[in-house]
Symmetry: C2
Subunit: 252 residues, 2 copies
């Protein structure tokens, strides 16, 4: 069975994440959504509002993966420099997109369409709009790069609107089984399980809840029958250590 | 006034963050702490449990910044491959650290010190231990790279214990002032403020709370008197637009 893989990277742009002021909320959303539609998120980066840093990351990530999603830096203020950096990364001019200008004019009205707000109609030449149903000012797509807002509600709405455009691959399915068993106790059997199922990815994530240590074990792969067989072996392994397999994550 | 700058990067290692299973909680903690002690976090990356990806990121980031902090992948299971990848990145052998072996022996007892648990005593040759007051198994430091656990409580305790070792630079101070004013309305004046204070970093972060739009404006810099003067000009700018400056973030 050959596997069809489509890959992606996420680039979070903004000083506020690196200074600790803002807790990013977009990476987990994009990671979950991409996984669910069959796109594999292979890398994420956070860079500051520094043109050289943005341009370098964009060019490295768009070359390395099928898709790149950026968040942040597309508002109307001087520190919103993503569009001009993407244009530089692609070596194309930054233009005022007529359709975006019309949308902004309708939304703000001629009188309130400040020069700053018009900045939000700027896109690299050749880009197409990504719709913003929340606050109108659009994101854009240029080749395999999607440029989204940093405000979580807008980022999500933009992604939800564009995800139908994406080429997707085989979905990575997963089974989670937890147990109150020490990682150091199950590690040997778990490693042997991984060796028997090279087509699966076997992860182990320790937890400490309600005063008890344990771990969640996650099997991931595109082959559902291998996944089922591996999960059954995992349940047997857990029982052989005197513990009871818990389906899914442990209850809070 | 010359500025003394010490830089850092953070590398989060783990499939679970990229698949969406786990919401990272370490980046924001490290970002906030590093900022508070005078180390500038310049970049963060997330990579999967893939040796080539880890080694490449470690070598790029340790060369580019004064410090690199990694989180994740130092437990006892087969998917914990950070120590061996760091050894490869530095081109040194992976050895069993005698002091770490003693700590683990004391903690688990001879009978329970499985081969898997002993894996947690592995470090690249030349590394020194980073203490783990939560669950004993240590992290380590090799040259400018600090290798920390992924479990948030352990990551934090490790960082708190090691931060006294770090060389620090001038602290970046910040002033936050918010207002119920559209970014597109204040953008022009804000850009002019940034131009008048090139030594400050002027950020604008929109919010929507209790049915009202607004933005928080953050001035950052190492020169306290410039910061105070810039903040006063910002308050005047906000008032000139008919709004009232709110010190700090807006109330929830």
């Amino acid at each position: 069975m050959s596997t069809h893989i489509v890959t992606a990277a996420v680039l979070l742009i903004g000083n506020e994440i690196l200074s600790g002021r803002t807790k990013d909320a977009n990476l987990n959303y994009l990671a979950t959504e991409l996984t669910s539609i069959g796109v594999r998120l292979m890398e994420a980066r956070v860079v500051p509002d520094v043109p050289e840093a943005i341009i370098k990351a964009v060019n490295e990530l768009r070359a390395a993966y099928d898709y790149l999603f950026t968040t942040g830096g597309i508002g109307p203020t001087h520190d919103d420099i993503t569009a001009e950096c993407i244009a530089k990364a692609f070596g194309v001019p930054l233009i005022k997109d007529p359709r975006a200008v019309r949308l902004l004019t309708n939304h703000y009205g001629e009188a309130n369409l400040t020069e700053a707000r018009l900045r939000m109609a700027h896109m690299p030449e050749g880009a197409t709009m990504v719709e913003n149903p929340v606050s109108i000012a659009p994101g854009f797509q240029i080749r395999n790069v999607f440029v989204l807002a940093g405000v979580p509600a807008i980022c999500r709405a933009m992604f939800d609107g564009l995800k139908g455009r994406l080429r997707t691959g085989d979905k990575v399915l997963s089974v989670t089984i937890s147990a109150h068993v020490g990682e150091g106790v199950i590690a040997k059997g778990l490693g042997a399980l991984q060796d028997r199922y090279p087509e699966l990815e076997v992860g182990s994530y320790p937890f400490f809840r309600q005063g008890r240590f344990g771990a969640s074990f996650v099997l991931r792969g595109t082959d559902n029958s291998a996944l089922k067989a591996g999960a059954e072996e995992l349940r047997t392994l857990i029982r052989s250590l005197g513990a009871e397999p818990i389906e899914g994550e442990p209850q809070e």
